[in-house]
């Protein structure tokens, strides 16, 4: 079946739990300079947006997951969350 619908995709990539996140830690250490002392658990990651033409939402999710797993995230150190919605 030919792709018939446009979907908007968001992929969020974060370091896996247990992998040191020096960017997040550095950001967290900078926050007291703003007078904020209650902020903890800062994680730094990446966010990607793109559009996919697909037959349906399941097809769009399957394609977006390939993009996330094979390119956007390195599964050795990162994990990704894929969100798909009709454009």
């Amino acid at each position: 079946m030919a792709p018939s619908q446009q979907f908007s995709v968001q992929v969020e990539v974060l370091l896996r739990d247990g992998i040191a996140d020096p960017q997040g830690a550095t950001i967290e250490r900078a926050l007291p300079a703003l007078g904020l002392i209650g902020v903890t658990g800062v994680r730094a990651g990446k966010s990607f947006r793109f559009d996919i033409a697909a037959a349906d939402e399941a097809d769009a999710l399957a394609q977006a997951t390939v993009v996330a797993d094979r390119l956007l995230a390195n599964p050795v150190i990162e994990e990704s969350v894929v969100t798909v919605r009709p454009a």
Binding site: I19, P22, Q23, L71, L72, V76
Partner: protein, 227 residues
């Protein structure tokens, strides 16, 4: 005949001429191979040199892994040909799945450009063949993402199979188990963050890189996989 080494050039690679110079200084022949090549010449060994392949966009090595030449590199490695990835080349080999683990940002988020002491931990790889275990070498590093990381199972496997090739004597970047270089199960693919090609001239501070690259040329002379 002098071993013939292919030096793979991605857009953004910047250590290729150092690698060629080092190979030639040690009596080998070297030739640049553009990343768009879909087949390799009759090389006795390959070097993936340092730099910023494809601008290091997304992650170091993440895009380079999809360069056309990588399929040929994987085939060459599978046939047993010696393949050495230096710095960015190491990152490319991990992203391509030819070596285990990943290189993440240095502990402390510092770009490191200095000379470190590394210790040879295995003398049975394409880059250390015949080098005595425990040999300490003074070699430059120059990286932001050289913090070697892998899961506990992979680390246990690397240790059990004597595949930790090089360790830092004084860990500069947070690498797990002080790892500076690892090899694949076949021992013919080796990746390391330090730059042996920058330590082949006493005038530039160290000759210790010749120990490793000399071993590569020996390995290359001993193995010629079918092209």
């Amino acid at each position: 005949m002098a071993p013939r080494i292919g030096v793979v050039l991605f857009p953004g690679t910047n250590c290729e001429h150092d690698a060629v110079h080092a190979v030639e200084r040690l009596g080998g022949d070297a030739e640049l191979v553009w990343h768009g090549a879909t087949s390799l010449g009759a090389y006795d060994g390959l070097i993936l040199p340092g730099g910023f392949a494809h601008g290091d966009y997304l992650r170091p090595g993440a895009i380079a892994r999809f360069s056309p030449v990588m399929e040929a590199v994987a085939g060459y490695a599978a046939a047993g040909g010696p393949v050495v990835g230096i710095c960015n080349g190491f990152q490319v080999l991990t992203e391509a799945g030819l070596l285990p683990g990943a290189l993440q940002k240095n502990r402390g988020l510092r770009f490191l450009c200095t000379t470190v002491t590394i210790r040879v931990e295995s003398g049975r790889t394409a880059l250390t063949d015949g080098v005595e275990v425990g040999t300490e070498l003074s070699i430059p590093i120059n990286h932001f993402e050289g913090n070697y990381t892998c899961d506990a199972d992979t680390l246990a496997e690397l240790r059990a199979e004597d595949r930790v090739v090089l360790r830092y004597v004084d860990n500069p970047n947070g690498s797990v188990d002080d790892i500076a270089g690892v090899c694949n199960a076949g021992r013919n693919v080796v990746g390391l963050m330090p730059h042996p090609e920058r330590a082949v001239d006493a005038l530039l501070g160290s000759l210790d890189g010749t120990v490793l690259l000399g071993a590569l040329l020996r390995s290359a002379g001993a193995t010629t996989p079918a092209a």
